[in-house]
């Protein structure tokens, strides 16, 4: 791919923008892939947020008829699906990508091309699952797609086809990524980076990856069974032939419950990084915080049927799961106390990342408390299917996960771009978002306890639900305003000259020992780690321990230039090509229902997959 070095008469120079785009398309650099994930997930945050605003417009007043019930069903289905699979999960992965290799002192992940593949599959799945908006067949059976509502009999048309195929594709992206990160964390740690010296964010990435690896196959099977029922007249959920819809619920929630921890653990990891840095105090009880994270991961396998308390499993099963659900609150609470103890007595600096981290603690605690009330079966029987549940999961997923992720954005933006986000605009963003968030979701507790069911497109005036619904709608638009403030902050800050330097926060972990943005090879010299919080350790050694300290500090400190040449993995377009095979295959499978000949499209998809894999396997390193 030659670029013309100097202008020649009669020949136009290729615009550099094309080279730039090509470099992004073929990148296998974890830092760039992290940025791709961040930008894409932020885009879908706006999409999912718009779907939420449309929902809130409809519900602001009783007896509103802005859209049909079917459209409303599609809106809440896609809002949930988008926020979970296209926003919170990938935004976490954005940070896994950018930060984890830097935190463990590695040059990249274990399998860079596989890493790129995960991103391109995510993007193609994200587009695929949204195709229905343009063909009048958006998925509309809820983000959890309960059988047998999702059967061909009760959900004709392609709505649910896009849903199961899109989710299947997205699942593959997450699975590949999780395996990549697990091997990276276990194998590519720098010398001296023992497991119990790893930053908590890396630990949470590891636990999240293990959960993904073990949980995704279960939903994969559920989606396959649904596909066989819809496309090939199988009987998995066909009640007439003895199929049991409860099977779907078991399979879905066996995945679904670990899934919610998959969504929250990365944010908890981010909070565990921000709090010590901005309290200028090491994390209180590091081993306990790590152990709690692992415990949450292990215990997450024992609670899934608390989503099924009203499905008729019987009192033995219900009681067992109620107890396990109450128990899982314990390690979570332990983390909160350790976080509070970290801040207490510290030299607290209230910068925007710290606001979001503290906001996380407050909002997640509220969400956790309502969650504990669901653990009790009798009260869950009142709360289930009401807005009380909606309140709970928005407090933990928005007030928790999203706040944590925004904290991460403010914290690591300087490392990614070399520029600081504006502190003033950042604090405005935080407070407007905090206010808007509570005004939106606080009332949901009341509405739920007052009996307002979920998933209804309108409600009558005589219920008395109108007031809080209107309040919530105002809150939702306030959230939207805060997002605009954030976007403005990004826009304005990117236009500045670089002002961050390598270590604007006087931080503790290895990513702050290298320039901002980092060079392609990350570390000029592979660091040798001697302690937890290795950068603080090195800085303190250099300042206080004389010549011996200076020698030890040098093991972490980075020279300006690498001592010798460093071979980095070459870019490749095969991940993109391979990724394209999946939506083509899915489209063929779906549309052969309408026209048998279109099975050829599926064959083309398989061919693209095979060609991509072959090119991948045979290209030079």
């Amino acid at each position: 791919m030659a670029t013309i070095a100097r202008p020649m008469p009669g020949v136009a120079e290729r615009p550099r923008i094309l080279d730039e785009i090509w470099s992004w398309i073929t990148t296998v650099d974890h830092k760039r892939i992290g940025v791709l994930y961040l930008v894409t997930s932020m885009f879908f945050f706006l999409v999912g947020g718009s779907e939420a605003l449309l929902i809130r417009l409809q519900l602001a007043k009783p007896d509103e008829r802005l859209y049909s019930a079917d459209t409303y069903n599609a809106l809440f289905t896609m809002h949930g699906t988008t926020m979970i699979f296209l926003v919170v999960m990938p935004m976490g992965v954005a940070f896994f990508n950018f930060v984890v290799p830097l935190m463990i002192g590695a040059r990249d992940v274990a399998f860079p091309r596989l890493n790129a593949l995960s991103y391109w599959i995510y993007l193609s799945g994200a587009i695929f699952i949204n195709i229905g908006w343009f063909t009048g067949a958006a998925p509309d059976d809820g983000w959890f797609g309960y059988a047998n509502l999702t059967s061909l009999q009760f959900s004709p048309g392609h709505h649910q086809d896009y849903w199961f195929a899109g989710l299947q594709i997205l699942g593959i992206a997450s699975l590949i990524g999780a395996m990549n990160f697990m091997v990276t964390i276990l194998n590519l740690r720098a010398p001296g980076m023992r497991l119990m010296r790893m930053p908590v964010f890396v630990w949470m990435t590891l636990v999240t990856s293990v959960l993904l690896i073990l949980a995704l196959p279960v939903i994969s099977v559920a989606l396959v069974e649904l596909m066989f029922d819809r496309l090939f007249a199988a009987n998995f959920f066909n009640v007439a032939k003895g199929g049991d819809p409860i099977l779907w619920q078991h399979l879905f929630w066996l995945f679904g419950h670990p899934e919610v921890y998959i969504m929250i653990l990365p944010a908890m990891g981010i909070v565990s990084e921000i709090l010590p840095t901005f309290s200028r105090k090491p994390l209180f009880g590091y081993p306990v915080v790590v152990f709690s994270g692992v415990a949450i991961g292990v215990m997450s396998w024992g609670v899934w049927a608390h989503h099924m308390f009203t499905s008729g499993l019987g009192s033995t099963a219900n009681s067992a799961f109620a107890i396990s659900t109450m128990l899982i609150a314990v390690p979570t609470g332990v983390k909160i106390f350790n976080w509070l103890a970290t801040v207490h007595g510290g030299d607290v600096r209230l910068k925007t990342p710290m606001y979001f981290a503290l906001g996380f603690i407050a909002m997640f605690t509220i969400g956790g408390l309502s969650g504990v009330t669901h653990a009790l079966v009798p009260s869950d029987w009142e709360q289930h299917q009401t807005y009380y549940i909606v309140a709970h999961f928005h407090y933990v997923l928005f007030g928790g996960a999203i706040f944590g992720l925004f904290g991460g954005i403010y914290y690591w933006f300087p490392k990614i771009t070399g520029k600081m986000l504006s502190e003033k605009i950042g604090q405005l963003h935080f407070w407007v978002m905090m206010f808007g968030f509570n005004v939106t979701f606080g009332p949901f507790h009341m509405l739920g306890l007052d009996g307002m069911p979920r998933r209804i497109y309108t409600y009558p005036a005589d219920r008395g639900w109108g007031f809080w619904n209107m309040v919530a709608t105002v809150g939702a638009f306030t959230i939207a305003l805060s997002v605009l403030i954030f976007l403005y902050n990004v826009f304005v800050s990117l236009r500045k000259e670089p002002d961050a330097g390598p270590d604007p926060w006087d931080a503790r972990t290895l990513e702050w020992s290298i320039p901002s943005p980092p060079p392609e090879y990350n570390f000029a010299k592979v660091p040798t780690v001697q302690a937890r919080d290795p950068l603080w350790h090195a800085k303190l050694l250099r300042r206080f321990s004389g010549a011996r300290g200076a020698a030890a500090a040098e093991a972490i400190e980075q020279p300006a230039e690498p001592p010798g040449p460093i071979h980095m993995p070459s870019p490749s377009y095969y991940p993109l090509i391979t990724a394209l095979g999946l939506p083509i295959l899915a489209a063929g499978l779906i549309y052969q229902q309408d026209n048998k000949g279109l099975i050829a499209v599926a064959a083309v998809g398989v061919l693209v997959l095979l060609l991509g894999a072959y090119g991948w396997a045979t290209e030079p390193a």
Partner: protein
């Protein structure tokens, strides 16, 4: 504090220790064993014994075959504990999760 352990870490990727390798004859012996167990399974299938005992014996024999292939053919017996832990976690979780699903749907007979 200087770190003498840094010399242990990272570890050089293990080359297969040939000393630990079963010989070809050993492998054939294991395969014969597996074939014999399969024959026994088939014979037990036709035996006139109560169902509970039948299931116990068959599951036991299957477990023996599973463990044999995993330990010797997949080399887990000679590889380190991490790989055993990873594989057994997946296995144990699958067994645990579906035992609970089946028992909660009154299906364990």
């Amino acid at each position: 504090m200087s770190e003498p352990a840094a010399t242990r870490f990272p570890r050089i990727v293990r080359r297969t220790e040939h000393a630990h390798q079963p010989s070809q004859a050993r492998y054939v012996g294991i395969a014969v064993f597996l074939g014999v167990v399969t024959a026994v399974e088939t014979a037990v299938y036709y035996a006139d014994i109560i169902k509970g005992l039948l299931i116990t014996i068959l599951v036991f024999l299957a477990a023996i075959k599973f463990a044999t292939v995993a330990s010797f053919f997949m080399h887990l017996r000679f590889d380190g504990r991490l790989l055993v832990f990873i594989f057994c976690s997946g296995l144990a979780l699958a067994a645990f999760a579906f035992l609970i699903v089946l028992s909660s749907m009154h299906n364990l007979r």
